[in-house]
Symmetry: C2
Subunit: 210 residues, 2 copies
């Protein structure tokens, strides 16, 4: 985590910044230009003290009696998150889940562009048409270097996940959104966020048992 | 969380049980019948003491010198998670993400069946064909009652999420997998797991900044 010259913001705060950003976007859609910390906190489902503390990490303070300027605060948060400009992301593993993710149009709106897809069997027949070409793994390293890609979505089967993650890291990927149900071993300067839909459902399933 | 007569297992343990279950499935695919706690722990990326502690919550103990019987342990964990039989799940909100989730074939393998999809505009033209019919929201309550559905995937826009969540809970839904980027207000006996892919990417984006 190379954050030279910047304070380390806790991971949970970073998640909440994303939530605030979405609340601000909705205010903007409704042509609202300023918002109090109380109103923004309520929209985000947190306490006003939490909101003020989160924003203070990077010196965003409201004006007493006026609150925050919606556009300015949005920009400050985007800059902090590194999403002010479109971030290139590659997707590796074009099975069912990979296909579904490729066909999801929602990432771009949020500042992420899936720029290429890779698979061990790029020519395998798939039951859905996608717009991106699918490339073999041998093309990955050069692509990541040339396009300076830092983030990857990993949606390969569990058995292949660690090997592929190693290839990604060797190519220069620093952040992995991991959809494989295994715990990846990575060095400290590489960040992994795990998403496993079936595991989330299973977790719910446990708690709803009568 | 109505767990009468059963010990309360921590949420993180429940997540790890899901991981163990997947590791056991891979062992089974490789025709391996017994596994030591050390080997299973390593496959799951946890310490052996953690694994033994997690399994002890529901009285699953290995045999000294032999370890765990793969099939028996799988069954014990599935029973504990409530996924031994196919769980019906409804999906509400058939936008881009909802469509992608409906076309993902991976849930069934994991014990979950999306049995119906609901949307405020069921007849809206969608750019992908899906096999399930999409129904209007007015049909939701009866369906949930009749089929005794307890779990829902919520993929509606943020602005509608709380209102729709209220409808789900009024219909009897006890567990919500929430893809909307807001914090849902729910009573204590309803469980919400949040998944937001864009927020996960944003979070990575922050940490990979040079």
């Amino acid at each position: 985590m190379k954050k030279a010259g910047r304070p380390i913001i806790p991971r949970k705060t970073i998640y909440r910044l994303s939530i605030y950003l979405r609340c601000l976007a909705r205010l903007r859609e409704n042509a609202i230009n300023t918002v109090s910390s109380e109103a923004l906190a309520q929209a985000a489902g947190v306490k006003p003290t939490q909101l003020r503390k989160d924003l203070a990490y990077f010196g965003a303070f409201g004006t007493r009696g006026l609150g925050y300027e919606v556009n300015a605060l949005s920009k400050r948060i985007s800059d902090e998150l590194g999403t002010s400009s479109l971030q290139p992301v590659i997707l590796v593993g074009v099975g069912n889940l990979g296909l579904a993710l490729l066909s999801y149009r929602g990432f771009e709106k949020e500042g992420f562009e899936i720029v290429a897809a890779f698979d061990a069997a790029p020519k395998r027949k798939r039951d859905k048409q996608i717009h991106l070409p699918i490339w073999g793994m041998e093309k990955l390293k050069n692509f990541v270097h040339e396009k300076n890609v830092k983030m990857a979505i990993l949606s390969v089967p569990a058995a292949a996940a660690q090997t592929v993650a190693n290839e990604l890291m060797a190519a220069g990927i620093m952040g992995i959104l991991n959809f494989s149900p295994i715990v990846l071993a990575v060095p400290e300067d590489v960040m992994v966020n795990n998403v496993n839909l079936a595991i989330e459902l299973e977790n719910l399933s446990y708690f709803i048992q009568g």
